[in-house]
């Protein structure tokens, strides 16, 4: 019985409302603590029912709240199963830590309460999305997440780059939303309802392969927008313009996980569309590869992390594409921990360096910020896939399941392995450039360790980054069993031979170590190595994807808008309005001349008209 589950949504939502209206009166640190407290309470509420799933005592439940649009099977109802429980834990848990961190990080911001109101709104939207029991309600959460991300990315809207980044995120997401919305229409046309339970139980009988492919591909367009897959990933690097904790929130706990979660939720439909599975897997692998290649050469610490997020999302999508839903969601979970940690650590560094984000001007921070150094080190090893940190287990499982599919999937596996090498390389580059070597700080920069509200989240996340992997080792697949009720009726990738897994794991580990050692030797010298040459240039320019979209889509769009504004609006529409107005005025000016003010002239008119009328009547009457 989890009837009280709506509180998980209500608390952060209430926090958002209170902070929006009374934020200024509540004051600087208090409004932040309030926001943090409410999210923490949300998390605490959800813990006992989640434990119920772990111990096996709890059942999947649908909690009816109130009838919303009964006609289309869209009630305000919550679906509580292991998948939504897990997502709730991640979103509220990691979210609460990021709130706590923000209390210290945002301390000198003028619009402090507003920031926390948006942060709470983000958590509430994400919870609506995660707990929804039908596609329509999920869509509400989906759109709210887009709105919250827009508000937070462009939080410092006086900076033109931040305002533009917010708009870009919103517009690119709209393209994805289009796919999601059309998918909803097809779903409704096929099933006559939006309800998850009904759709997933009847889908195998009702759905033809063609319709299933159409629905899932459209859903994937939506997921690609939110989860930053090729080619809709372009909004994510720009989203770095927001405050750093926001980046952590978007990249770890919320927003980008939405797409992966939505596909996992629709696993039944994706199982019925093998073609879509291939598309999803290939797009995921390509995204992982391209983003990792770009991450190699970025010098802005947040940009490296942004591209690494895209790359890791590619892994998750690859896992889900090959039918390894549990593995994909597992990577989502571990990634939530270590990526939140990396971003918060980066935020801590940026805070200490007085806003400097260029890694070329860092270095030697190890002594100055020991906690940040240690926790970031853990995250670095985890994302690089070093045994026994969490990233190793989750990344490895995806690669193993891809490998196990055989055939063309060997290529995807090889791509994944190559990306693991790149990941280890660029993460080591980031770590070494930031913390080791000689200081390359600008004059007047005095790095210092961050306040406790910022280091505590780092330590907590660090703990999970180290330990989260053990819940799903090949020897003990606790995590997979935990999620099993959510993927009932979905064909699982076949269970893998332990010996094969050991071999694959060793290969991945060797690759990761090669990447780390190679990068370490290259960057730990006294001088930074020159990164020139054709490939470095191209990578630094992100392969010109942004410019390509700018030239091919944005510029023509801007030209079309210009035409509409200058020609269509100013000439045609305004011309019509002015023409009609002017015409009427000219006619009435002419008619006004008839009104002479001379009574006798009116009388004359009446007399003449009367005479004419008399003759007309006589004529009509047949007098002549």
């Amino acid at each position: 019985m989890v009837d009280f589950l709506w509180l998980v949504i209500a608390f952060p939502l209430a926090g958002a409302v209170v902070n929006l209206i009374f934020g200024r009166r509540i004051g600087q640190p208090a409004s932040g603590w309030l926001a943090f407290g409410l999210v923490a309470v949300s998390w605490a509420i959800a813990v006992p029912p989640t434990i119920g799933f772990i111990t096996g005592g709890a059942q999947t439940e649908t909690i009816f709240l109130f009838a919303w649009i009964p006609l289309v099977g869209a009630d305000a109802a919550l679906l509580w199963d292991p998948l939504s429980a897990l997502m709730t834990m991640i979103v509220t848990g990691v979210g609460a830590l990021i709130h706590l961190y923000s209390i210290g990080y945002m301390n000198r911001d003028e619009r402090y309460p507003r920031y926390f109101a948006f942060l709470n709104l983000f958590i509430a939207s994400m919870m609506i999305l995660v707990l929804a029991a039908n596609y329509a309600m999920m869509f509400i959460g989906w759109e709210l997440v887009g709105l919250s991300s827009y508000l937070l990315i462009s939080f410092w809207f006086t900076k033109p780059a931040a305002a533009a980044a917010g708009k870009k995120a919103f517009i690119v997401n709209r393209i994805g939303d289009w796919g999601y919305l059309v998918a909803l229409m097809v779903i409704f046309a096929t099933f006559g309802t939006f309800d998850f339970n009904t759709i997933f139980s009847t889908a195998p009988g009702v759905l033809t392969a063609g319709t299933a492919t159409a629905i899932t591909l459209l859903l994937f367009v939506g997921a690609a927008g939110k989860s930053a897959q090729l080619p809709l990933y372009i909004w994510l690097p720009d989203a770095m313009e927001g405050p750093t904790p926001v980046s952590a929130l978007i990249h770890a706990a919320t927003m980008v996980t939405a797409g992966v979660f939505m596909i996992a939720r629709s696993a039944v439909l994706f199982e019925l569309a093998p073609v879509s599975g291939v598309v999803v897997a290939v797009v995921g692998a390509m995204t992982a590869l391209v983003a990792a290649l770009i991450a190699l050469s970025q010098t802005d610490i947040k940009k490296v992390l942004a591209y690494s997020t895209i790359s890791q999302l590619g892994y998750m999508v690859l896992g889900i594409g090959v039918g390894a839903y549990a593995a994909g969601v597992f990577h989502l979970t571990t990634h939530a921990f270590f990526k939140a940690l990396l971003f918060l650590g980066a935020g801590s560094v940026i805070h200490a360096m007085a806003g400097e984000q260029d890694m070329r001007k860092m270095g030697g921070l190890r002594k100055k910020m020991p906690i940040t150094f240690l926790t970031m080190g853990v995250a670095w090893l985890a994302i690089s896939g070093v045994f026994p940190f969490s990233g190793f287990w989750s990344k490895d499982e995806i690669l193993a399941e891809t490998f196990a599919r055989g055939g063309g999937y060997y290529v995807l596996w090889a791509v994944g392995l190559f990306v693991a090498l790149l990941t280890a390389f660029y993460m080591t580059r980031l770590f070494v450039m930031t913390f080791l070597g000689a200081p390359r700080w600008d004059d007047g920069v005095h790095p210092h360790e961050s306040p406790r509200t910022m280091t505590i989240p780092l330590i907590v996340l660090g703990f999970f980054t180290v330990s989260a992997g053990i819940v799903n080792t090949p020897v003990r697949l606790a995590f997979k069993h935990f999620l099993e009720p959510s993927f009932e009726g979905v064909v699982h990738a076949k269970s893998l031979d332990l010996g094969l897994l050991a071999i694959l794991g060793t290969i991945a580990l060797i690759v990761a170590v090669i990447g780390i050692v190679w990068s370490w030797r290259k960057y730990s010298g006294a001088e930074l190595p020159a990164e020139d040459g054709r490939w470095w240039e191209r990578s630094r320019a992100a392969f010109g994807v942004d410019e390509f979209f700018g030239r091919s889509l944005v510029a023509p769009g801007a030209r079309a808008s210009r035409w509409v504004a200058d020609t269509m609006d100013l000439k045609v529409i305004d011309g019509a309005a002015h023409g009609i107005g002017g015409g009427v005025r000219r006619v009435s000016e002419g008619l006004a001349k008839l009104q002479t003010g001379q009574v006798r002239s009116y009388a004359g008119g009446v007399a003449v008209a009367g005479t004419i009328l008399i003759f007309v009547f006589l004529y009509v009457g047949g007098a002549f």
Partner: protein, 101 residues
């Protein structure tokens, strides 16, 4: 020589024409007013004559109504003319052209 309806109708037409001419030609509001009375009574004469000829009572009733309307109109009209005369010490309608468009 009997008095047929034609006589009455010619008389009415004559009176009406005189009235119309008076309205169109004269500038004095008071005289124009009297001309309008003339036209109204020409119409009354027509009503009564036709009523008598056709043996219908409606024409005579209508004539009575017209008289009532004419009487009320005279009171209002005269009041306006007196008011105008007071403010401008003239009853020349050509000077009352404030509503020119």
């Amino acid at each position: 020589m009997t008095l047929t309806i034609t006589w009455f109708l010619f008389l009415a037409a004559g009176l009406f024409s005189i009235g119309l001419a008076g309205v169109l030609i004269r500038r004095n509001a008071l005289v124009m007013f009297m001309s309008i009375e003339l036209m109204l009574n020409a119409a009354n004469l027509t009503f009564v004559a036709v009523s008598k000829e056709l043996g219908l009572i409606e024409g005579q009733v209508t004539a009575l109504f017209v008289m009532v309307v004419a009487a009320t109109e005279v009171t209002i009209g005269l009041a306006i003319i007196v008011a105008v005369f007071r403010t401008r010490s003239s009853a020349n309608v050509d000077e009352l052209a404030e509503l020119k468009g």
